[in-house]
């Protein structure tokens, strides 16, 4: 079905691991996909374990070594992706020139399902202190909409940098943590912690914030890593592993507050997620006409900051400026960027999934309502009207009913 190769498009100078998955110089790396047959019967004495000690894995490793040798590549690491039926091998070329040659040769190698460059992704965020406090809750009327839904038990996969699950607002909210960056231990990081707070900070009296889906079950899938305080990176391989995990572990919503180039491996995984009814929310890059990938991918809910103009038709607008949220080491911070608008929409999607558990991603999209004109509390026209959205699913008025919210969808 496929293989995965990734070639980085950046030239960062940091180096985290020796396996190349988070190494600075991923520009010479590629992903090679080998077909992974479904598990099946094999006779023998270990009959109950044949699905465990799958000899096919050893065979594919042998084939990958042969391929690497034949194309003068170095085998770096691998990761099975049963969600796609492929084993993904990371290989590295000696130079950028040889990478191009290798890609060409691999495209004609019948043993290879597909090969692709390793792409690099980055969040769309700025965590500097820029503006004064403006509680985002006033736009979303959390107190009111939480009377109808809180995202209870919705499995929300946050594919991002590390989340501080010991933060006072996040304690007990994260049901699992997984690290997909080899050789780089899981650590709490700014971007992931900020996104997690907006989506799922617990509702507690006293200090702190409240997430849009405060009763959601957060899956902290660390596929990105902080290079510096303001530079966070991910790549095709780490994101692919995290998406594969989210699909296999029955996530209901996936938040992707990041952007980069189109990528075959990630596209295939998004197809698998969407076909299983998982709603995927992606941050749209305001500097790219179509919003960049994965926001531009069909079926993904693309989200832009409500101050971003112009945006591609169909892009959802949500608050993305002056957002108070959680920060590592038990702190709070104000953040800005499309990443956090994306987190807002993931939060409200979790509420909709709770209220409409059988809805497809497309039906969830149709539940969203928008403000046709600027609101009295300062939201621009075209932004998501959370009250109207939740009221529609609830079948009754949730917020200030006399001010009947607009219900026209902006296209």
């Amino acid at each position: 079905m496929g293989n995965c190769l990734a070639a980085s498009v950046t030239t960062s100078t940091d180096s985290i691991t020796s396996d190349g998955t988070s190494n600075a110089d991923t520009s010479r790396q590629l992903l090679v996909m080998l077909h992974m047959p479904p598990p099946h019967f094999r006779p023998g004495s270990n009959y109950s374990g044949r699905y465990v000690d799958d000899p096919g894995r050893s065979a594919r490793l042998r084939i990958a070594k042969d391929i690497a040798r034949a194309h003068s590549l170095t085998l770096v690491t691998d990761w099975p992706m049963p969600a796609l039926g492929v084993d993904c091998f990371v290989m590295e070329a000696a130079s950028n020139d040889s990478l191009t040659q290798s890609m060409e040769m691999l495209s004609h190698d019948s043993r290879v399902e597909w090969a692709q460059p390793m792409s690099t992704y980055r969040p769309l965020a700025n965590t500097e202190h820029l503006y004064s406090l403006q509680p985002s809750a006033k736009y979303w009327h959390l107190a009111e909409i939480h009377k109808a839904a809180t995202g209870r038990n919705i499995r929300m996969a946050i594919i991002d940098s590390g989340i501080d699950d010991h933060h006072p607002d996040l304690t007990g909210q994260v049901i699992l943590k997984e690290n997909f960056i080899d050789g780089n231990p899981y650590v709490p990081e700014s971007h992931g912690t900020a996104v997690a707070g907006i989506i799922g900070a617990g509702a507690r009296d006293g200090a702190g914030i409240e997430g849009i889906a405060s009763d959601a079950h957060l899956m902290a899938l660390r596929a990105c890593w902080e290079v510096t305080e303001h530079d966070t990176r991910c790549n095709s391989f780490t994101l692919g592993k995290a998406l594969n995990f989210a699909i296999l572990n029955k996530a209901q919503v996936i938040n992707l507050s990041l952007t980069g180039p189109p990528d075959r491996l990630l596209q295939r995984l998004l197809d698998a997620a969407l076909s299983q009814g998982i709603t995927v929310v992606g941050a749209a890059d305001p500097h790219i006409a179509d919003g960049g990938f994965p926001a531009s991918y069909p079926g993904v809910l693309a989200v832009a900051d409500e101050d971003s103009k112009p945006v591609k038709a169909g892009t959802l607008l949500a608050p993305g400026r002056d957002i108070p949220t959680t920060a590592p080491d038990g702190k709070w911070n104000f953040v800005n960027g499309t990443s956090f608008a994306c987190a807002h929409v993931s939060g409200i999607v979790a509420l909709l999934v709770e209220m409409n558990p059988s809805f497809t991603p497309a039906q969830i999209r149709q539940q969203l309502k928008f403000n046709l004109t600027p609101t009295v509390d300062g939201q621009p026209a075209g932004t998501i009207d959370a009250c109207a959205t939740i009221s529609k699913s609830a079948g009754s008025c949730i917020c200030a009913c006399p001010l009947a919210h607009a219900s026209k969808v902006i296209h």
Binding site: P38, H40, G44, N46, D53, R57, S58
Partner: protein
Amino acid sequence: MQGARCDIVRVAAALLLLVLANMAQAQISGNATIVSDYRYRGVSLSQGKPEAQVDIGYDSSNGWYSGILASGARLNYADTEQLVAYAGYAGRFLSELNWEVGASDVRFVDNSDYNYVEEFVGLSTDHFNARISFSPSYFDSQTRTIYAELNAVYPLQDHLQLLAHIGSLHYLVISDESSSMATSRYDGRIGVNAKFSDWNVQLAWVAIQKTSAYYPRYEDRNPRATVLSVSYSF
């Protein structure tokens, strides 16, 4: 004996043709195993003795698979070889749910009286698989059987898994020869598997229900056993 070998050669030749016909993205894999006691569905096919096994499998890119297992065995206090040719089709319902349908042809080189064929269907996920097998003449007993099994794998650590198996053999029609036997019997297996690169080490405790429904014309003296196996995948 010669007939069994010829049949196996024909099956192997057919497999080879299948391999050559569709090499693109096809994979050949194998497993070599030393087992302290060859327990098959709870019954020892080696009379408690160690045996060596080699399994070669072929997987096409479109879901078809086939293979052959060669194993030492011991029946009626005489050493023999068991050859199992198998083939089937495996697919995915969803990314986490797989299904398969297939058949196996089991032959004993020096004891053709025990040869039999079986067809099976199965479902599997990451941690479970279930399979139902039907034989029109199990161990050539002229007795139709259905064997239902459920297998589970639970990861304990990165390289260590807990394994569990429960199976039930049902006799659909009891032949005159075995008319005094029970109509079904259960077997179970629990163990751990440690994986080190291409090597697997399994330690398992195997048990079979004490009934008179032993495999037709096969004597089983030890209903419980601890089995150690070491295998190398390639």
